[in-house]
Symmetry: C2
Subunit: 290 residues, 2 copies
Amino acid sequence: MLYMIGLGFMPEDISVRALRAVRSCARVYLDTYTSIIISYEDMRCLMEDVLQRTDLIQCDRKVVEQDEDSIIADAVQHDVAFLVAGDVFCATTHTNLYLKAIQQKVSVVVMHNASIMTAVSCTGLEMYRFGRTVSIPIFTSTWRPSSFLDYYLENARLNLHTLVLLQMSTKELDMDLYCEKGLERYSNPYYLLPNQAARQILSLVDEYPDTYSQVSTDTIVIVCCRVGTDTQQLESTTLGRCALQTDEYYGKPMYALVLPSPIIMEQERRMLELFTDDISVKNMLKEITR
Amino acid sequence: MLYMIGLGFMPEDISVRALRAVRSCARVYLDTYTSIIISYEDMRCLMEDVLQRTDLIQCDRKVVEQDEDSIIADAVQHDVAFLVAGDVFCATTHTNLYLKAIQQKVSVVVMHNASIMTAVSCTGLEMYRFGRTVSIPIFTSTWRPSSFLDYYLENARLNLHTLVLLQMSTKELDMDLYCEKGLERYSNPYYLLPNQAARQILSLVDEYPDTYSQVSTDTIVIVCCRVGTDTQQLESTTLGRCALQTDEYYGKPMYALVLPSPIIMEQERRMLELFTDDISVKNMLKEITR
């Protein structure tokens, strides 16, 4: 049996049902590749604290992408748990694990949990008024895709909000070093910060002013930091102001942005107002309230 | 302090963190108005089992909509928990409770949990390819709104999937009896069933053939029953086949439908195929795979 278990945003977000399943499992894996909201150390502490076991197995990229078969081989023999931050199927990698397990006649039980995709409702923006979710990649000098802004414009045209996820780079293998010398050297995890994301957006607006004429330094953005944790912070601001912040300003990961629809509802405005002291932002929110 | 706690789909989906908070609370309310996935009886049993307390307070429509102030008055004095099936802010009612609490200087801690809006990823359809979520109301002889189908067409045009929530009617007060005789008589909860929803959709297609020419008895639909629970069932079928089923066919609530986008990915097809033995449905899935 394979239990695929969503953990939400903190180790203690694990459910009573999931804990009971984990207790019965011979092996317990934690995916630290597709998400790093929940660290190996923190999850191991929770398991020790609540279940008195310390045998949590960390799955980095290599395990998740290449050693899936060994997880499934385990699950043929024993009860095995695979723990994932957020909800279970937010990464297609996990759908792949599910499919492989089913093909090998392993029973799979999925336990869902909180995901940023609905927790973003903590901003007060109505879930029914969100369009497709987009992701901003970390730009390099040669790779600056803009399709996420096109999707945002489509949402805005339909008067829908846009949840903007910010790419992170997990422990990546240095492929050059690996191929040349066979050395496994990994980079530190890296997150696209809200201020950097805002700068990337505004740089695309500079580059394609006609295409993105609707977007400017005055575009309202809700910066969401560490949603669902004890240190959650939300800020209603503008892209221009967000872009001017220092790298330290928004604190530790995780982050997400919301670009609200061109028109917001009265109750949505009352919530968004809670997250700013800036009079001009409050006035801008009033102007877009229906 | 007010703890607003998402419960997910079953009482045991409550998190370790939420349980710890509930343990410290003087009063514990369960919202049985905006959602009835988690029954009062089941939640009370879980609380008795895990926390040895039986003082759970049921909040029906009257309490949630009219007696919010008494919940907040409680929270001014004591630690109070307000439990909600799914995630916390999926109903605007709860945003209202949050706002009122903040206005009265009550600290609020929100604990998120699983919601159908991301758990629908159990179908294998990618979360990034969902557009706005729509709801089908229970049609009456005089009230047959079709805007949800317009939203579906918008999603389909953008090659996005559509999550379709089916309206339920909770314990509604018989207003005639209440106004005339002051008697509080409540109706039983009522759910729009998947087969009824499919019939409603097809009846709109009959009525407005030009507007909805893209929709027909051959439109693929994924019927999702009791997602996230032990008795979850998924079925890949067509609107025509779904409409022909009996009222008993899909078992107990909750239900949701997914109308996949006009084009699906290879991995999505492999998942959707798991949920049908019908060769013609499998062939239709192949035809729409990119």
